[in-house]
């Protein structure tokens, strides 16, 4: 694109375009006016030539001689001093001629009658008219008198007509130039005014920053058809950006709180050791506690990285990565066998609809992480000697086959007020329980991020009332099946 080489403002381009169009049209006006004026003036000129030639004819008189000849009587002739004329009789004899002319020369009379021609007389262009007239001598006599024919050649200099034409054209040209000169700044001013909404919009948009998301576009931006789509686009982009910034900020704040607390634990543990002299056993126990605290810090950092990776928009291992869901379930159950046995919890897997292998749109690692997070949660929140059920169902409705995994525990459940927060980052339904299980508060947030990325959904239902037989928590994951 040429514009990319030397970018100009829209206003500049519009002004140049308008002025160019104006220039072209003024040239056209000048050319047309020249043609028109020339036509008008020369028609009038020709009429005048005819009139003057006729007045010459009027000056042709009876010579009162025996031959009944005619003569030119110059006494009554009143013609402009620049004009030239000559009069011939039938025989080609010169009857009279203007004083300022030597005649058209022998060539001229041979011209056909009524024609105009151009000649030069004493350095000026003359337009010459030849007409034939007749004069009746002694009309009262026998036979109605004699008819004498005369040829009149009349010329007038053209520079008067040309002068008039040039004057008119000059007028039009000067008018156009003045118009160009006046309209240039006028257009610039009008454009400046016309682009005001755009500049307002730009200045408002430029005030938006990470700290100030307030963007209230002026009313003119909405009412201007050209600006409305841009305004709406800016608005929605800003809203989405603000949302994601708020989320990021909340995450950073939460993460900072968690990390600072973890660091505070380690720091205070170490300072406690140095507060007074202690025995070797006390130092050893203190160092072991510090090591355990460090491991927890490490786990938080690892989980935060996993969450960041799961929430990033880029696909984990390419878009085609799929996982065999039943196989993943088996794998996770085997992985967590010892944990379940340690807590005296039984894990039952039910695969209905005689499902064999099928793939869900998830990286195998992500699928395993998701299932192990959920199963570990269920095992840790189960009452001793109870069972965790994993149920896999295939839904084939509306051409969108979905795998539904339900993980049900029979634990103490989640209170209703906490249920809506369990997918929040760093949320712990019950801090004392989180302490005993050592969770970082990120497991369910990671699970949700994984499921959302795969285009699925995750929901949780809980019955915390120990009086009811179905007490416990059920996590239901729906994942679209990829073919």
């Amino acid at each position: 694109m040429k514009l990319a080489i030397q970018p100009r403002s829209i206003a500049f381009r519009l002004i140049v375009a308008v002025l160019a169009v104006e220039l072209v049209s003024s040239i056209l006006v000048v050319v047309l006016s020249f043609g028109y004026e020339r036509h008008i003036h020369f028609r009038a000129f020709d009429v005048m030539l005819h009139g003057r030639a006729d007045s010459i004819l009027g000056a042709v008189q009876d010579a009162e001689d025996p031959g009944d000849n005619v003569m030119l009587d110059k006494a009554d002739l009143h013609i402009p001093p620049d004009d030239v004329y000559e009069v011939y009789d039938e025989a080609g004899h010169l009857l009279g001629r203007s004083d300022n002319w030597q005649g058209a020369g022998p060539g001229v009379p041979t011209h056909s009658l009524g024609d105009f021609s151009q000649i030069r007389v004493s350095g000026h262009h003359y337009r010459i008219l030849r007409i034939q007239g007749s004069r009746t001598i002694d009309p009262g006599e026998h036979g109605g008198g004699k008819l004498r024919k005369v040829t009149i050649v009349y010329g007038s200099p053209t520079f008067h007509a040309w002068h008039a034409v040039r004057g008119a054209v000059e007028f039009y040209a000067a008018g156009s130039i003045i118009l160009l000169i006046v309209t240039g700044p006028l257009i610039a001013w009008l454009l400046h005014r016309g682009l005001l909404p755009l500049r307002q919009l730009a200045s408002l948009a430029s005030q938006v920053s990470v700290d100030a998301w307030q963007f209230t576009p002026p009313a003119s931006a909405y009412s201007t058809p050209e600006l409305a789509p841009l305004t709406h686009a800016i608005e929605s982009v800003l809203q989405r950006l603000e949302q994601s910034f708020i989320q990021q900020r909340a995450f950073v704040s939460d993460a900072a709180h968690e990390l600072k607390t973890a660091v505070a634990v380690i720091k205070s543990s170490l300072q406690l050791l140095t507060m007074k002299r202690r025995s070797a056993q006390e130092y050893q126990a203190g160092l072991e506690r510090c090591l355990a605290d460090s491991l927890r810090l490490e786990a938080i950092v690892a989980d935060m990285l996993t969450l960041a990776r799961a929430e990033s928009s880029a696909p984990v291992d390419g878009p085609q990565s799929t996982a065999n869901l039943p196989a993943c379930i088996d794998q996770v159950v085997v992985q967590l066998e010892t944990v379940a046995a340690h807590r005296n919890v039984q894990v039952n897997t039910t695969v209905s609809n005689s499902i064999e292998a099928f793939e869900v749109a998830l990286a195998p690692e992500a699928c395993t992480l998701l299932l192990s997070n959920l199963l570990l949660n269920a095992i840790q929140h189960s009452l001793p000697a109870s069972a965790v059920e994993i149920i896999l169902i295939l839904e084939t409705e509306e051409n969108a086959p979905t795998a539904v995994v339900q993980i049900q525990d029979h634990g103490d459940g989640i209170p209703l007020e906490a249920l809506s927060h369990v997918f929040d980052r760093f949320y712990r339904g019950d801090p004392s329980r989180a302490r005993t299980t050592g969770g970082t508060g990120l497991g369910l947030a990671i699970s949700k991020a994984i499921v959302t990325k795969a285009g699925g959904s995750i929901s949780i239902a809980s019955q915390p009332d120990p009086a009811l037989p179905d007490q416990g928590t059920a996590v239901i994951v729906r994942l679209p099946i990829s073919r």
């Binding site: 600072k260 505070a264 634990v265 205070s268 300072q271 019950d430």
Partner: protein
């Protein structure tokens, strides 16, 4: 002195409680969430509340507002991991007395805790002197008429509490509440034994007994009953002249 620690992170709470018990010898009660903290603070038996901001059930700021709403003037030290002046301003305006940002220094925490307790009782300097009896709360030493008095930790804590409130009758119940945490079996005769020993040790350094701790039968104890507001004394100590501040809101 008795401190309420409201902190949900169990390891941090452990460390803080140990540090406050081992260092300045405070009795420490620990509440693991905002509601438990509110229940404890409702007993009005604390000389300081150390409060974490991010708490389950009831967050630290709301708890602080509840404490101040019932006109409880107990000094509150906030532990916060939040950044930014806004949240600190909000906290101080809500009635917090001081704050520490995590991760903090244990020594600083203890120093601030002591300063807040001192200020809460109207004393500006860590050394308190009443009628020739000087208690240095930093070194935890007691000097009477220029002679060093050797006290047991409990005797020292009884004296430290009493010297913060000279001429005021302090009941046995109040002494118990402020010297022991709630895990302690409350036997009031334990206090009687300690006060009796304390009085003996304080008199032993003098040629003639001059009981500085008066026993008000059935009502409690009073330190320095004969104290008069002399000019030279009030310059050294400004304890009794300053009333315990009323809650700000």
């Amino acid at each position: 002195m008795r401190v309420l620690l409201v902190e949900d992170e169990v390891r941090l709470a452990d460390n803080l409680a140990t540090a406050l018990r081992d260092g300045p010898g405070f009795a420490v009660d620990w509440a693991e969430d905002g509601l438990a903290g509110d229940d404890c603070a409702g007993n009005l038996c604390y000389d300081l509340i150390v409060l974490d901001l991010m708490l389950p059930k009831l967050d630290g700021l709301s708890l602080l507002k509840r404490i101040r709403a019932r006109r409880d003037a107990t000094p509150v030290l906030i532990l916060t991991a939040k950044e930014g002046a806004d949240s600190i301003i909000q906290l101080l305006n809500a009635g917090a007395d001081d704050y520490l940002a995590k991760p903090f220094d244990l020594g600083e925490l203890i120093a601030r805790a002591k300063a807040l307790i001192r200020r809460g009782k109207g004393a500006a300097h860590p050394t308190l002197t009443v009628l020739g009896l000087t208690v240095n709360t930093l070194e935890q030493t007691v000097v009477r008429n220029g002679v060093f008095v050797d006290l047991s930790p409990t005797e020292y804590r009884v004296l430290e509490y009493l010297i913060h409130r000279p001429r005021v009758i302090v009941s046995k119940r109040e002494l118990l509440e402020h010297l022991y945490d709630y895990n302690w079996e409350h036997h009031s005769n334990v206090i009687e034994v300690h006060v009796s020993n304390l009085r003996k040790k304080l008199d032993a350094v003098l040629p003639e007994p001059d009981p500085i701790i008066e026993t008000m039968r059935g009502r409690g104890y009073r330190l320095a009953p004969g104290l008069r507001m002399d000019a030279d004394q009030s310059s050294e100590r400004d304890v009794s002249s300053v009333p315990i501040p009323e809650p700000g809101q």
